[in-house]
């Protein structure tokens, strides 16, 4: 009797500790699995160039790209370009998000306003946003304003559409709960509509952010003296593929980081969601 008791109490903590350790390992291993492919490919390429199988002139090996990063960092060029691009993104994304959210909310909430403004906006949405560049340059000049405006246009449409669709799809049954408790219109928005649209809103912000990164390059292609897009053009004109690849990698890293920040900021507000990925 006592033997059984002892073994049970002795085994329990060991088992849970082991389970803890394997859970921690699994948490660490998950991102590591995603790194396997790019790191493996980079290593293979490095080896191939070192072994003389290729001169790596058009596609420089990782060591040379890393060297390029280090050089750009040492001269302060990297920081200057990254800051310029991030500032444009911040202004453009902010502007596009505010405008998209406001107009999306208005046409989602009011049927009259939707019939009034939505057809026009959908028409404008059909214009490939790059087509605005010549007009924006004529109107706003070739400096920052026109670039920010282009990014804002890119961010605006997914946010506008996402907010409007989210409001239109709020469950009538939940709204009726608010009605039974006699919520005023502002309270209905704050306590029912906003939380109900939040998951879809975060998705639309993230797709807006993605489009924003596309448009920041387009904006910087149209004549910039700094920014990662300028670095791309500079690398092309001076025949420096390492600089181009370094700029591309910088875009990838910045895009991923900003998206992760957005998702991370939203996550605490969405813990209630009943989704498949949560186990």
């Amino acid at each position: 009797m006592s033997v059984v008791h002892v073994t049970v109490t002795a085994e329990r903590p060991v088992a849970t500790r082991e389970a803890d350790r394997s859970a921690r390992l699994a948490r660490l291993a998950r991102p590591a699995l995603g790194l396997l492919l790019p790191v493996g490919a980079a290593l293979l390429w490095e080896i191939a160039v070192r072994a003389g199988l290729s001169d790596g002139r058009l596609l420089p090996p990782p060591s040379r790209i890393f060297q390029e990063f280090a050089d750009l960092y040492r001269t302060g060029e990297l920081q200057r370009h990254v800051v310029a691009t991030l500032l444009r993104m911040a202004f453009g994304f902010g502007l596009g998000t505010v405008a998209g959210t406001l107009l999306g909310a208005i046409s989602g909430y009011s049927g009259l306003m939707r019939r009034l403004i939505d057809p026009t906006l959908q028409g404008l949405r059909a214009v490939p946003s790059i087509a605005w560049i010549p007009l924006f340059i004529l109107w706003l000049g070739i400096f920052e304003t026109s670039k920010v405006a282009l990014i804002a246009v890119g961010v605006f449409f997914p946010v506008y559409l996402g907010v409007m669709a989210a409001i239109l799809s709020v469950d009538r049954k939940i709204v009726e709960v608010g009605q039974v408790f006699r919520l005023s219109p502002p309270a209905m928005i704050r306590r029912i509509l906003l939380p109900a649209v939040l998951p879809a809103y975060v998705v639309s912000l993230r797709s807006g952010l993605g489009l924003g990164w596309m448009f920041v390059i387009a904006a910087e292609f149209m004549g910039a003296s700094e920014g990662l897009g300028y670095l791309l053009i500079d690398g092309q004109q001076l025949g420096k593929p390492a600089e181009i690849v370094a700029a591309i990698l910088a875009f990838a890293v910045l895009g991923k980081i900003t998206d992760a920040i957005l998702a991370g900021v939203a996550a605490p507000f969405l813990r209630w969601e009943d989704v498949v990925t949560r186990q």
Partner: protein
């Protein structure tokens, strides 16, 4: 006193969901509305709740006309309709946000205790079972201490065991403050367990067809002969409401089938 006087509802598309419905429900009384599908019993409840407005007649609570949701009238829907972004406790306290925090917390805690969900206060609605979710919805409606509580087929989505459990639970809760209850159901057993009075409705157009007193002692024994007798009267009235007059001598067969509502 809740009074429905000649209430009618015609939808803009011309469908007459309800016509000439007249019903009086006294304070603390439990009236159960039964009827086949399409008889307008859910429409009736939505009108009393103030979610829809009648096109004819009037609904009054102690003389005050009901044209919009009223603070003294609570509602429990067929689905729990909990807000998924609020914890169970915050869902229960949803109608109390104008109260001081201490009072709100105390009342929510007490009500959760009453529906035996005090250990679930902090969890999300998605983590509740169907019965727990519906109990949370009951608590949310009761915590504001309504004078009238409307329940629209509140237990129809639950399994049979949970359903009888919750019927007894509802009667316990009712005994606390004895609000007026108007319950819509298509389950005759449920009607006889709960009701002081059963209003049988008929379809096309919906109207109150018969009222049957269920003057059985509480708690009610679902197996007793008296229970069966009331049930048979309800089933008979339902059959007649559907123009399926029961032939003499066949009453018992019909009643025991207990399926009059499923046509």
């Amino acid at each position: 006193m809740l009074t429905l006087n000649n209430v009618g509802k015609t939808y803009p598309n011309g469908v007459r969901a309800l016509e000439g419905a007249t019903l009086e429900v006294g304070p603390g009384e439990i009236v159960v509305v039964v009827g086949g599908s399409g008889c307008g019993k859910s429409t009736l409840l939505r009108l009393v709740c103030g979610l829809d407005r009648p096109t004819h007649g009037s609904i009054t609570l102690d003389g005050t006309p009901i044209t919009a949701p009223h603070e003294k009238i609570g509602m429990v829907f067929q689905e729990p309709r909990l807000l998924p972004w609020l914890s169970v406790a915050d869902n229960v306290g949803f109608g109390l946000t104008d109260r001081p925090r201490e009072e709100r917390q105390a009342r929510v805690a007490l009500q959760l205790e009453r529906v035996a969900l005090h250990d679930k206060a902090a969890v999300w609605p998605r983590e509740l079972s169907g019965g727990q979710a519906q109990r949370t919805a009951l608590a949310r409606a009761l915590v504001t201490r309504p004078e009238v509580l409307l329940l629209d087929e509140p237990f129809s989505a639950l399994d049979a065991f949970t359903r009888t459990d919750l019927q007894d639970h509802l009667l316990d809760l009712w005994a606390d403050a004895k609000p007026t209850l108007v319950v819509v159901t298509h389950d005759v057993d449920e009607a006889v367990v709960l009701a002081d009075r059963i209003a049988v409705m008929r379809p096309r157009p919906g109207r109150v067809f018969a009222e049957i007193e269920a003057d059985l002692p509480r708690p009610r024994d679902r197996q007793s002969a008296a229970f069966d007798a009331v049930k048979r009267r309800v089933l008979n009235a339902l059959d007649r409401s559907l123009d399926r007059a029961v032939k003499p001598g066949h009453e018992d067969v019909r009643a025991n089938q207990g399926a009059a509502l499923w046509w």
